[in-house]
Symmetry: C2
Subunit: 252 residues, 2 copies
């Protein structure tokens, strides 16, 4: 496993509605889970307002630090949709109308009142960009090299991720296994650390909860190597059982 290349992604969530607390974000979790299936680790997320300089700053920083960069939000037809302009600025290119995006919008709006100037805004892309299919609303996502511009509406972002599935080079997916135990995590902190140390290449995370009047915890073991993962999970379960606790396989 040493020297194995790890592929990483950054994610910039663009939207005043998330920062105001009005809208519960759903894109971090769905993009994180999808990236993991592609063998790509989500390295960092930044949530920024609908302000061009702030988007440029976040996109530039995370694009430099990761192999891929994703954004969600700000690609609709209204005046607060400025993601395309911000990414073009970050890349130092102009904004152009993409002929295939225009054609898709024309087809979509043919029975819905036709193209307007506002709707045509959704055909604007940073120069040199490709489109990411969106069968739902006619407005495509946008790919500029390793930057992927997705919709903010979660179910439209889902469709764009589906269109990208299997297209991105990645490494081994990070596998995980969960060991549940009706115990306070503070009682078994040593066991967790010992199990992690005994199996290099594994990380052991502890996620406590309080349910039905009892405290418990799920211990999540992560590794890119299936055998190492299996060994660490079995070892941790054995250590917990030797300490007189019963273990719930696959978590509580």
């Amino acid at each position: 496993m040493d020297g194995e290349r790890i592929w990483t992604a950054g994610l910039v969530i663009i939207g005043d509605e998330i920062l105001s607390g009005r809208t519960q974000d759903r894109n971090v979790a769905q993009i994180a889970a999808w990236l993991n299936l592609q063998g790509i680790r989500l390295r960092e997320v930044r949530i920024v307002p609908d302000v061009k300089e702030r988007i440029v700053e976040a996109v530039t920083a995370l694009a430099q630090a990761s192999d891929y960069l994703f954004t969600t939000g700000g690609i609709g037809p209204t005046h607060d949709d400025i993601t395309v302009d911000a990414i073009a600025d970050a890349l130092g290119v102009g904004v152009v109308e993409h002929p295939r995006a225009r054609a898709a919008l024309e087809a979509h709006y043919a029975s819905r009142g036709g193209l307007t100037e506002a709707r045509l805004r959704m055909a604007r892309v940073p120069d040199g960009a490709e489109l990411i299919e969106n069968p739902m609303s006619g407005a495509p996502g946008i790919r500029c090299g390793n930057i992927f511009i997705l919709a903010g509406v979660p179910h439209i972002a889902t469709l764009m991720l589906e269109a990208l599935s299997g297209q991105l080079e990645g490494g081994k997916p990070l596998l995980s296994q969960t060991v549940g135990c009706w115990t306070a995590e503070s009682e078994v902190a040593d066991l967790l650390e010992e199990a992690e140390r005994a199996h290099p290449g594994c990380q052991v995370g502890s996620y406590p909860f309080f349910r039905d009047g009892r405290v418990g915890a799920n211990f999540v073991i992560r590794s890119t190597d299936a055998a190492t993962l299996e060994a660490c999970a079995a070892d941790l379960a054995a250590r917990l059982e030797q300490s007189g606790r019963s273990v719930v396989k696959d978590g509580i």
Copy 2:
């Protein structure tokens, strides 16, 4: 309203479980809504892994850019709980045991098996810190000047926010009003922009949806000034109605 001071906060969410997609974050939305009630704007959120240097980097950047900084996660008893060490590093201070935190933990664990070395980890604070009450689990939150270290478990974070309510200096809360309309946002993009321009100090956001087979949108107007907000919302509703659309007060 000109020259009115705007108070801002940054938020660093610490946790591999959010970046892996295993756990749906709930803290961004609840902290954002709470901050707004205090008259403080959430300026930016960063989600980073359980890696000390990465936490230090994010905390340092956001603390410099905002009046207040909040963190969630990584203050439990296990080896992956390293937030206190990271914040101490960021502040250039040592880590000490806080006597009142130790006393609270002793009281809480008196009937639960007593204090262990792992549980005592939760009494560690950056030198000079104060505690934020947590009636739930005995483990307190931590305040270091304008840095607030909260639990990752959302309902414990809620209790810590309650303990802080009314304690932080802020400005005028950002008020909002919603105008709903069964229309495609792309049909009324011009009206939105005109209403925003006609009322300086207001922002108009557009949040489209697809429900029961129909497209609609909620238009959210935000301002710190109640009269300006009211005027902008009434103006937008009038413009929409003049265009032949009916409007749903307070949103759909």
